[in-house]
């Protein structure tokens, strides 16, 4: 691995990686059962540098911002490398957002360049939101069909300059990325991440879960996500490892990829991990009684032998069929983005497949804590990573309070939001809005949320303010969306739901017609953003002098209602 303490920027480290690991396999890309390409680090460089030269010829310079909206694929990483090489600031956006949301964030970030895929550009180019991104000068589109109408964009494959590009150095404190942790509604939260944030995070993570040439990482989580950016791009690249991309994320092809490419690490969100558990459990349940008995015995032996520490080779021998299904070389499943249930983590550990469970926020630079497996514990999110200071603010009698973190990996602030930044980072401590406690062994146990938001099992952060627009002009006196657990605090991080608080007009009833109207509007939202039910309150919502709803006061008022009765499911 490169000694990252010697580097000033992501671009500088990546540039050296391409030289140092020139002959190692860098990327494999497969579409269903077909392997589309396999390239070395030196081939990666050959593809990237003409693009970098092209960007520089077009006037792209240090600190200019460039957005990427792409599914996981080699061109994502090549484009990101080029942006860093030329001194730019990367704005990685979630390809699953709507075109309007994309344009809003591109405008907010001040991106000059957008790199995207043709199917995404077809929707983006036709969206009226395009007019908003005034600073956008160049759009590069990958994989466009030969006669496609590019609506003013240029082909990524043809955007090449002559001669070698000039590497543009950046300093550790310079901005490397603007990562949107949420906020496609009224207040986008663009986390300004420095080069130092990533360099330090990479050192901390790879000290626990090392990469080296020959390691194969299966990239499934979107690369714009902090986890995949770190463990599916920057981490493996600085160690000469291989990243495997799948263009189709159907479960059967993902399963096949484990054995076909002998995957070493994969990152998953809890939803996918639970799905894997369900599939395995179904297979175990279907075993004939005698085989089942033997299997259970072997799992029992494995549990005893791995109680104190993981013993991968032993588990692979004992439970050969299970490990073969995962390719036989899987060293850990990294799970993040949302809270994982302890029984799911234990299920995999008992099979000899360690799950690196952790906790993090985009604002904190990926991970704050990670389970170090010394020993494995399913009931916590692990200990703070090296270089991370974690403390509990205002703990109650049980030691539970708001989790605060301080380290070199924390963002410098939210783009264009000094007040929000000042509320979030206080005296150098990032206030996470999550509740938890540190136990005697130094492990962090999460127990709920202080902030008005939910995190889905798919790892999506949903803020009520961001979905309220869909209910605008609803025929009621007033409305407000809440995370149910914000109104009625729960000691839980799973099964979180959003509710719509309604104050009806005088004499109005909660009719079937109104319910249908709410349902129809709700269905316009992406499935993971939808509200679960309605809460009725027959009084005026408290408001500020500028007539904004006082959400915290309204939540306190709603909390006086009995949750079990108050929420009317849609």
């Amino acid at each position: 691995m490169l000694d990252l303490s010697q580097y000033q920027s992501i671009g500088e480290a990546l540039k050296d990686s391409l030289d140092q690991f020139a002959n190692e396999t860098c990327l494999i890309e497969a579409d269903r059962e077909r392997e589309k390409e396999r390239i070395t680090y030196s081939e990666f460089r050959k593809r990237a540098h003409p693009l970098a030269r092209g960007l520089q010829d077009s006037g792209f310079a240090a600190a200019d911002r460039a957005g990427i909206i792409m599914t996981n694929q080699s061109k994502w990483l090549i484009s990101a490398y080029v942006i860093f090489f030329t001194g730019g600031v990367l704005v990685p956006l979630d390809y699953k957002l709507t075109p309007e949301e994309h344009w809003q964030l591109l405008e907010h970030s001040g991106a000059r360049i957008l790199i995207t895929e043709y199917p995404i550009w077809r929707l983006l180019g036709a969206s009226p939101g395009r007019a908003a991104a005034a600073e956008l000068r160049t759009v590069l589109v990958t994989e466009a069909p030969p006669n496609a109408d590019l609506s003013g964009a240029q082909r990524w494959e043809d955007f090449r300059g002559e001669g070698e590009p000039v590497f543009v150095p950046r300093q550790r404190q310079d901005m490397a990325c603007i990562v949107y942790s949420s906020g496609t509604g009224g207040r986008p939260k663009g986390c300004m991440m420095s080069h130092e944030n990533y360099l330090e995070q990479c050192v901390a993570l790879t000290s626990l879960y090392p990469f080296w040439p020959g390691v194969r990482y299966l990239s499934i989580l979107p690369t714009n996500h902090a986890i995949d950016f770190m463990v599916g791009f920057f981490g493996p690249f600085t160690c000469g490892a291989t990243v495997v991309h799948l263009r189709t994320l159907r479960p059967e092809f993902v399963r096949e990829a484990f054995s076909k490419y002998k995957i070493t690490y994969v990152s998953l969100v809890p939803l996918v991990l639970k799905n894997l558990q369900k599939g395995l459990q179904t297979r175990f349940d279907a075993l004939p009684p005698a085989k089942r008995k033997v299997f259970n015995l072997l799992v029992g032996i494995n549990k005893v032998l791995t109680k104190g520490r993981i013993r991968l080779n032993l588990s692979r021998q004992l439970l050969k069929d299970v490990h073969s299904a995962f390719g036989g070389e899987l060293s850990a499943i990294i799970v993040g983005g949302a809270f994982s249930e302890p029984q799911t983590l234990q299920f995999f550990y008992d099979l000899g497949i360690p799950v690196a469970n952790g906790y993090g926020l985009t604002e904190a630079g990926t991970a704050i804590t990670v389970n170090d497996l010394k020993p494995f514990r399913a009931d916590t999110v692990g200990k703070p990573l090296p270089g991370m200071e974690v403390r509990i603010v205002n703990p109650d009698a049980a030691g539970i309070g708001e989790v605060a973190v301080r380290s070199k990996t924390i963002m410098s602030g939210y783009l264009n939001e000094p007040e929000l930044t000042a509320e979030t980072i206080v005296d150098g401590w990032l206030l996470t809005g999550d509740l938890g406690k540190l136990d005697a062994a130094g492990h962090l146990q999460l127990s709920g949320r202080k902030k008005n938001m939910i995190v889905t099992e798919e790892g999506k952060n949903i803020y009520p303010e961001d979905i309220e627009a869909v209910f605008e002009s609803l025929p009621v006196k007033e409305f407000c969306v809440f995370a149910a657990n914000y109104i009625w605090p729960q000691r839980s991080m799973v099964g979180e739901q959003l509710v719509l608080a309604l104050h009806l007009e005088p004499g109005q009833t909660y009719s079937d017609e109104l319910r249908r109207e709410i349902t129809a509007r709700n269905n316009r939202l992406l499935n993971y953003k939808r509200i679960h039910g309605v809460v009725l309150l027959d009084e005026d919502f408290p408001r500020t002098a500028s007539l904004k709803i006082k959400r915290n006061v309204l939540a306190e008022r709603l909390a006086q209602l009995d949750r079990a009765i108050a929420i009317l499911p849609l």
Binding site: T71, E117, P119, T248, L249, P251, L271, N275, N523, R530
Partner: protein, 80 residues
């Protein structure tokens, strides 16, 4: 060649079979996430089943953001 109506009907029937709900209980305009109570992974499983049935390949981007049977059937129809 199937008509769009036939394709939609076959999509509904296959979804009903796959998720074990009564035939005829699904409508073209239904949101399959909500009506079937499924998550995004289960939706991907359904897509694989539909691909096998119709003998086509539906790239992931073609079904990105699609949540009702009618639109899904239209995307399938365009590839038949």
């Amino acid at each position: 060649m199937r008509t769009p109506e036939q394709t939609t009907q076959e999509v509904l029937e296959l979804a009903a079979t796959h998720f074990n709900v009564p035939a005829g209980s699904l409508l073209p305009t239904d949101d399959f996430f909500k009506k079937l109570g499924i998550d995004s992974l289960q939706a991907l499983e359904l897509l694989s089943r539909l691909e096998n049935h119709f003998g086509i390949e539906l790239p992931d981007y073609e079904v990105q953001g699609v949540s009702d049977f009618k639109t899904l059937a239209e995307r399938i129809q365009s590839r038949l």
